[in-house]
């Protein structure tokens, strides 16, 4: 066998890790489905998995209704959003060679939210109703398109601004901060100026929330998740080479400009379509990739899928935590991810000399 010994070591603890992840995922999913204002017995979940929804009667029927119409779509949407944001973050961190890169900080989220809000403003004739169940289905399906366009525009703007005068990582982040703060102020201003909703709803929107998202949202986002999943195996190898820096990558035969641009488009697409559905959930793309890297190393063929899984888990877990907070309203998932993500951001910042 010519198989070199070095590939064995990193695979040694992989089964253990996979098992641990599976257990964590199961726990997070079960807690999300069963716990809440209406506590659902495990038996109802088990039964309704195997039989039709309407079979049960009495309190079990209510429980099954809550389970299938409220919690299941919310869980699935959380998984999709988390996976997309984390993979977008992993791609951005490689392409920009900057551990602080994240769709939130680079303005992609801001651009996506702005166009999403504008779409609703125009689709509803200037009456920005934020009660999510009032929207037309067609508008909902247009949403990921609008958000992706917004994300791409914002990313393009940030790049154009920072490219003049050398595209250094720090300059890029700085331009991202500038563009993002303008975009976020615009979103806040539009919601405050035209939003016909109480403060709680607006606040949750600005932070990013899974509250009230039903199956329609899952179906609207699913094509984008699938598209992202199909693109990822194509991206992994060029991303590996991009990690080596521009000169080495081009010396290894990669057309750096093309792949860098393509990666940014894919990352914007993944992040922006997710943001369009749930709002600017922050710091997932910042938090997850380094953890995935610590677990499986920098080979993107492993790091990218694992980031997706971990991101999905993180968002679902954060949503569970936010829902179980005491108080008048539940905490939006974006607030929880920020509260976890900012200390990590600070840690990364401190570590950078």
């Amino acid at each position: 066998m010519s198989s070199p010994g070095w590939s064995l070591q990193s695979s040694r603890y992989r089964p253990m890790m996979a098992l641990g992840l599976m257990l964590l995922a199961m726990a997070a999913i079960l807690i999300n489905l069963l716990a809440g204002p209406v506590s659902i017995p495990f038996a109802v979940l088990w039964q309704s998995l195997w039989s039709s929804v309407n079979a049960a009667a009495g309190p079990d029927a209510v429980a099954a209704e809550v389970l299938w119409q409220l919690r299941m779509p919310r869980l699935l949407l959380g998984l999709l959003v988390g996976g997309q944001l984390a993979m977008a973050g992993a791609i951005l961190q490689v392409v920009l060679r900057n551990p602080l890169a994240d769709s939130h900080i680079l303005g992609i989220s801001g651009g996506a939210s702005l166009l999403a809000v504008l779409l609703f403003l125009f689709a509803t004739d200037g009456v920005l109703t934020l009660a999510v169940w009032d929207w037309q289905v067609s508008v909902l399906y247009m949403m990921p398109w609008a958000a992706t366009a917004g994300g791409l525009l914002a990313a393009g703007l940030v790049f154009r601004l920072s490219a003049a005068g050398g595209l250094t990582p720090m300059r890029l982040v700085l331009c991202g901060i500038a563009v993002a703060s303008v975009l976020n102020a615009l979103v806040g201003g539009i919601l405050a100026g035209w939003g016909h909703a109480n403060a709680e709803t607006v606040l949750a929107w600005l932070a990013g929330t899974l509250y009230g998202r039903d199956w329609l949202y899952v179906w609207a986002l699913l094509p984008w998740s699938v598209l992202g999943l199909l693109l990822l195996p194509v991206m992994a190898k060029p991303l590996n080479l991009l990690q080596l820096g521009e000169e080495s990558a081009s010396s290894l035969g990669l057309s750096v400009t093309r792949w860098r641009g393509l990666s940014l488009v894919v990352a914007s697409l993944l992040a922006a379509s997710a943001v369009g559905m749930v709002g600017p959930v922050g710091f997932v793309g910042l938090l997850v990739p380094p953890i995935a890297q610590a677990l499986v190393g920098s080979d993107m063929r492993r790091q990218l899928p694992l980031s997706g899984v971990l991101g999905a888990l993180l968002v679902v877990a954060a949503d569970g935590v936010g829902r179980s907070m005491p108080g008048v309203n539940e905490l939006p998932v974006g607030v929880v991810t920020s509260l976890v993500g900012v200390p990590f951001f600070i840690y990364v910042l401190r570590r950078q000399s």
Binding site: V179, V182, A185, G193, A199, F283, V335, G341, P343, L349
Partner: protein, 332 residues
């Protein structure tokens, strides 16, 4: 330079006249424009106490205090920005990018939500929050020196954390959230004499204090060794002036909510106009900040009248453009 040779009272007098007449024009504009326009003659009559009725309510109860508040808010933010940039010798230091604004807002939200203190306590809550926010960002960014980009990143982190906590608190308390949310959006809508009374005297005192210390600000630009050799206790001055900057910002946050970017962009704009000398920079920045705020407020309430836009929409757009121009100019 020619102007250096003219008598000081003449130079200062000339510029003062420009500042005064500009401000008067803007005040008049702000008093007259709105959903119901008020003619200049009616304004003068109201101010002389010769007319009552609707014009009096509009001018005296609504627009005049709001305009004066706008002037103060803008001046406070601009001067706070000048002070921070001089103290840290960092072109990106400003109330919104160093976490002062967000820390102050968090302080106000916490006190107003969980204590029974009256609204008059909010400037102090904002001051405490602002000091903590500034200390956190500077502490996080510090690694032997204060690199502009690191400070901005640390400020972003502190701001993100504060706004997450603010959202959590507002959602947690429920009932009083609407009022606080309205305030968090930033702006002068509905602000009147009580708010002006709350911060008027203290803000003016702070602004005057900053003007008094403009020579020390100039010295701080020289670098620590030189300043120390001139017999000035660098850190004491730095700390004092930084606290003054946070104080001025806290006054703004307490009554008008967080208003971003004015404190970042106005000092640089003033620098483009009159150069780095703080003796000229400080008054010019004060004036520009005050004017910008009044113009933004008038635009916010007239653009889509009878509805009113948050003034933060304009300051953020203007400020963001200025921020980007700054990144170019300074080659950061």
């Amino acid at each position: 330079m020619a102007s250096e040779q003219a008598a000081p009272w003449f130079r200062w007098g000339g510029w003062g006249l420009v500042a005064l007449s500009g401000s008067l024009v803007l005040i008049l504009m702000s008093l007259s424009l709105g959903v119901v326009p008020v003619a200049a003659s009616a304004i003068i009559e109201v101010l002389l106490g010769e007319q009552g009725g609707l014009a009096k309510v509009l001018v005296w109860e609504l627009r005049l205090p709001r305009t004066l508040l706008g002037l103060l808010v803008g001046a406070n933010l601009a001067v706070a920005g000048v002070l921070m940039q001089a103290v840290t010798r960092n072109p990106l230091a400003s109330p919104s990018l160093t976490g002062v604004m967000a820390g102050g807002a968090l302080g106000v939200v916490l006190v107003m939500s969980y204590s029974s203190w009256p609204a008059t306590a909010s400037p102090y809550a904002a001051l405490v929050g602002g000091v903590l926010g500034a200390a956190a960002s500077i502490g996080l960014a510090w690694n032997g020196r204060l690199a502009p980009v690191r400070l901005a990143l640390a400020g972003v982190a502190v701001t993100a954390l504060c706004s997450a906590v603010v959202t959590a608190v507002l959602l947690n308390v429920g009932s009083s959230a609407d009022e606080l949310f309205f305030w968090m959006a930033g702006g002068l809508l509905g602000r009147s004499w009580p708010q002006l009374e709350l911060i008027g005297a203290t803000s003016l005192a702070g602004l005057l204090l900053a003007l008094v210390f403009r020579r020390q600000l100039n010295l701080l630009a020289l670098g620590d060794e030189v300043v120390r050799s001139l017999g000035i206790r660098v850190w004491r001055w730095r700390l004092g002036l930084a606290v003054l900057a946070v104080f001025l910002t806290a006054q703004v946050v307490a009554v008008a909510g967080p208003i971003g970017f004015v404190g970042l962009v106005i000092p640089h704009l003033a620098r483009v106009l009159v150069g780095d000398d703080q003796r000229r920079l400080l008054p010019v920045a004060t004036c520009l900040g005050a004017w910008l705020m009044v113009v933004a407020d008038v635009t916010a309430r007239t653009l889509v009248a009878p509805a009113e836009l948050p003034v933060g929409l304009f300051t953020a757009t203007l400020g963001g453009a200025g921020f980007i121009a700054l990144i170019y100019r300074q080659r950061l």
